[in-house]
Amino acid sequence: MALSYLRSSSSRSANLLRPLSSAASLRRPISTDTTPITIETSVPFTSHQCEAPSRSVETNPSELLTFFRDMALMRRMEIAADSLYKAKLIRGFCHLYDGQEAVAVGMEAAITKKDCIITAYRDHCTFVGRGGTLLEVFAELMGRQAGCSKGKGGSMHFYKKDSNFYGGHGIVGAQVPLGCGLAFAQKYSKDESVTFALYGDGAANQGQLFEALNISALWDLPAILVCENNHYGMGTAEWRAAKSPAYYKRGDYVPGLKVDGMDALAVKQACKFAKEHALKNGPIILEMDTYRYHGHSMSDPGSTYRTRDEISGVRQERDPIERVRKLILSHDLATEKELKDIEKEVRKEVDDAIAQAKESPMPEPSELFSNVYAKGLGAESFGADRKELRATLA
C-alpha cells in the first residue's frame, strides 16, 4: 500500500500538466478508499419461489482489494497444504478448497461475526474467513499444539467459537441439522443473526437435510442452507447422483436462489439478500455454482472422473481470483505490479506461518484424556497397559 502512496504523490505533479480525462488516475490509498462502485454480476441470479436480487452489486475499491488479498491468501494456503501433504507432514484426509474461495470471501463480506457459519470438511478457507490465523490452520493440519483444536481435531475439525464458526464436520450432511440448531438458538435468544449451513452437492441427497429444512420452515428459523455445488460428490458427477440437480429448487416450499459461486460479488449480494430474507421469512436455500481444482481430497487425483480440459477451462474462464484481478485492473484501482506484490506478500505470510507451525510441539500425552468430558470427572485415566499414559482429570 505504501507503494501506491509514493506513486500517486510523484505523479501528482506530472498529472497536473495532463488533460483532465486522466485525472482519474489520481488515487487515494486503496486500503481506505470506500467510494462506492457498482458492478454487474456476470451471470444473473435464478430464483425459486422468490424474487431474485438485482444484478448490480455495490462495492468499493477497499473491498475489492480485500477480496483479492483474502482469496490469494486462501489459494496460497491450500497449495501449501498440498505440498505439506505430499511431504507427509499432513496425514489422513485433507480436502482442499482452491477454486471455491469466492464463496467464503463473498459470504464474509455480507455478514457479521455474530452470524454463524457451519460447514463440512472442506473448511480451511472458511475458517480463515472467520478470522482464523494461518498458524492455527497449519498447526492443526500438522497435529501440533498451536492448532485451533489443539491438534486433536485435524483437517476436518476446525472450530472458532469466538467468531461463531462451528466447524468442521466429517460426516456428510450431519452439519445441516446442527446448523438448524444454531439458527434455533439464535431465534431463541432473539439476537437478529442468521446461520449459514454449508453443504455440498453430494450431501444434498441426505435425508437429514430435508428433515432439518422441514423443521426450520415450520418454526421459521433464520437458517440459510448453502449448497456449494462443485458438481462432483467425490468421484460421482451430480447428474449421476441426483435426479434433480437443481439444488436450489429442492426446498420445494422453501425459496431458493442459484448464484454464480465463482463471482465473489454475486455471492456477497446473494448472502445479503438471504440474510434479510431469513430474518423475516425463515429458511432459504442458496446454490453456489462453483468448482474445485483439486480432487475431492489429497488421495483423489481428480482426473479420473473429469477431463483436464474441463479443469483448465474453468481455471481460464471462471477463476475467482482472476475475475477480481481483472475488475481491479479495469477500474484502475491498482496496478499489475501492486497485485503481484500482494501475492508475494501473501506467499511469504504463508511460508512464515508454516515455519512457525513446524516449530510448535506435538500435544502432551496427557492431552489424550483432556476435553473428553468438561471438567473431567475426578477420575484417573490410564493407557491400555495401565502404566504408560496416565492423567488425573481434575
Binding site: 468442521g168 441439522p177 444454531l182 476435553n371
Partner: protein, 411 residues
C-alpha cells in the same frame, strides 16, 4: 403389600378421571390429530375419546406389577435417602421427572425441551404434561418425526449455550440419531479442543415393557456405552429420577438419561427441598455382607424381590443400584467387592456387549484379587424380545433366577 398396590391402582384411576385429562381432550379436539401412532405407541389401553392414556395396565400384567410395587413399599420404608426429616410429598416417577424438569426450566431460561408430542400432547408418558402451556411453544417444542435432525438440532443449539432436553419417545428411536449422538454429541468437545461443550440431555424410556414387541423393547445403553464423551445414567426411583434429571440438566457434559417404560408409575415420597443426585455415584440400596449384587433400572426391583427370599433363606446380600452406567462408580463398587468378595450382576441388557459385560471386565481388571469366585452376570437373552407374554418373561431375568445365582455364588 395390598396398600402399596392399591396406591398405584388408585393413582392410575385418579389419572383417568382427573381434570387435567379433560383439559387434554379439549386440546385434542382443537389440534388435528392423526390416527393413532401405532408405530410408536406403548400398550395404550384406555379409550381415545377422553384422551386418557393409561399405560401397561392390561389385567394380565397386574399380578406382575403387584410384585414390583412390593419392592417399592419396602424400599421406601428402609431407605434413608427417600424420606427426610421433613414430610415431603408423594408422587409418581413420571411426575418426579416432570418436577425436576420444570424446576430446572424455571431456574434457567436456557433450558428447553424438544421431542415428539412433548408439547401440546403433554408427552407420550406425561413427563412434559403442562410444560408447553406454562413455558410456551419456543421452550417446549413439538418436533416432526425426524430423530436424526432434531437430535442434531438439539446438539447445534447446545453448542451455542442453550441447554436442550431431547426426548426420544422410545429410546429405540434414537438409533436413527446414532450418528449425531456419537459423532457430534460425544466428540465435539474433544475435536474442538475444548471450545464447545454440549450441555444436552437426551432422555427417554427404554427397556423391555409389556409385550411391546422387539423394536420397542430395546436397551440402548449397550449401544451407546462406547461413545467417548457422553455420560449415561439410569433412574429407578422417583427420588433418583428427579435428582438425576436435575443433575443432568445442570451438567456441562452430554448426558443420556435412561428411563424405563414400566417404572413410570412407581410412587414414592420425596423431599420438598431442592436436591440433586450425583451423576457418577451408585446408590446403596441394601447394605449386606455375603454377596454384592449390582443392578440398575427395572432389574433393581427384581433383585429386591429376590433379596426378600434370600433373607428368609439366611443370606445377606448387598444390593447396589449402579445408576451411573458411564462412567461406573468403581469406588462404591470396589468397596463393596472388598467387603463381600462375591459379585452378581443383574441387568436387563443382552448378554453380548451389554453393560454387565463391561462391568464384569472393569471389576475383574480392578478388583481381581478381592474376588473369591468368578463374577456372575445375569442378563437378558440374546434374542429380539418376543411378543408372547410367556416368552417375554423368559427373556429377562426373573427373581427366581437371581435367588439361584446367589445360592450358587455363596456355596
Amino acid at each position: 403389600m395390598a396398600t402399596g398396590f392399591h396406591g398405584v391402582g388408585a393413582a392410575v384411576a385418579a389419572l383417568s378421571s382427573s381434570p387435567s385429562n379433560s383439559f387434554d381432550s379439549k386440546k385434542l379436539l382443537c389440534s388435528p390429530r392423526r390416527s393413532f401412532p401405532v408405530r410408536k405407541g406403548a400398550s395404550f389401553v384406555a379409550d381415545r375419546s377422553d384422551g386418557s392414556v393409561n399405560l401397561d395396565l392390561n389385567p394380565k400384567a397386574r399380578r406382575a406389577q403387584q410384585l414390583i410395587v412390593n419392592a417399592v413399599a419396602n424400599k421406601a420404608d428402609s431407605s434413608p435417602a427417600s424420606s427426610s426429616s421433613k414430610p415431603g410429598h408423594e408422587l409418581l416417577l413420571f411426575e418426579a421427572l416432570r418436577e425436576g424438569l420444570e424446576e430446572e426450566m424455571d431456574r434457567d431460561p436456557r433450558v428447553c425441551v424438544m421431542g415428539e408430542d412433548v408439547g401440546h400432547y403433554g408427552g407420550s408418558y406425561k413427563v412434559t404434561r403442562g410444560l408447553a402451556e406454562k413455558f410456551g411453544d419456543l421452550r417446549v417444542l413439538d418436533t416432526p418425526i425426524a430423530e436424526n435432525s432434531f437430535t442434531g438440532m438439539g446438539i447445534g443449539a447446545a453448542m451455542t449455550g442453550l441447554r436442550p432436553v431431547v426426548e426420544g419417545m422410545n429410546m429405540g428411536f434414537l438409533l436413527l440419531a446414532f450418528n449425531q449422538i456419537s459423532n457430534n454429541c460425544g466428540m465435539l468437545h474433544y475435536t474442538s479442543g475444548g471450545q464447545f461443550t454440549i450441555p444436552i440431555v437426551i432422555r427417554g424410556p427404554g427397556g423391555v415393557g409389556r409385550q411391546l414387541g422387539a423394536e420397542h423393547s430395546q436397551r440402548l445403553e449397550s449401544y451407546f456405552q462406547s461413545i467417548p464423551g457422553i455420560q449415561m445414567v439410569a433412574c429407578s426411583t422417583p427420588y433418583n429420577a428427579k435428582g438425576l434429571m436435575k443433575a443432568a440438566i445442570r451438567s456441562e457434559n452430554p448426558v443420556i438419561l435412561f428411563e424405563h417404560v414400566l417404572l413410570y408409575n412407581l410412587k414414592e415420597r420425596i423431599p420438598d427441598e431442592d436436591y440433586i443426585c450425583n451423576l457418577e455415584e451408585a446408590e446403596m440400596v441394601r447394605p449386606g455382607e455375603h454377596v454384592t449384587i449390582l443392578t440398575y433400572s427395572r432389574m433393581r426391583y427384581h433383585v429386591m424381590q429376590a433379596a426378600k427370599t434370600l433373607v428368609n433363606k439366611g443370606y445377606d446380600p448387598e444390593v447396589i443400584d449402579i445408576r451411573s452406567l458411564k462412567p461406573f462408580d468403581l469406588h462404591t463398587i470396589g468397596n463393596s467387592v472388598k467387603k463381600t468378595h462375591r459379585v452378581l450382576i443383574v441387568e436387563e441388557c443382552m448378554r453380548t456387549g451389554g453393560i454387565g459385560a463391561s462391568l464384569t471386565a472393569a471389576i475383574t481388571e480392578n478388583f481381581h484379587d478381592y474376588l473369591d469366585t468368578p463374577i456372575m452376570c445375569l442378563s437378558s437373552q440374546d434374542v429380539p424380545t418376543p411378543y408372547a407374554g410367556t416368552l417375554e418373561e423368559w427373556t429377562v431375568v426373573q427373581p427366581a433366577q437371581i435367588v439361584t445365582a446367589v445360592e450358587q455364588l455363596c456355596k
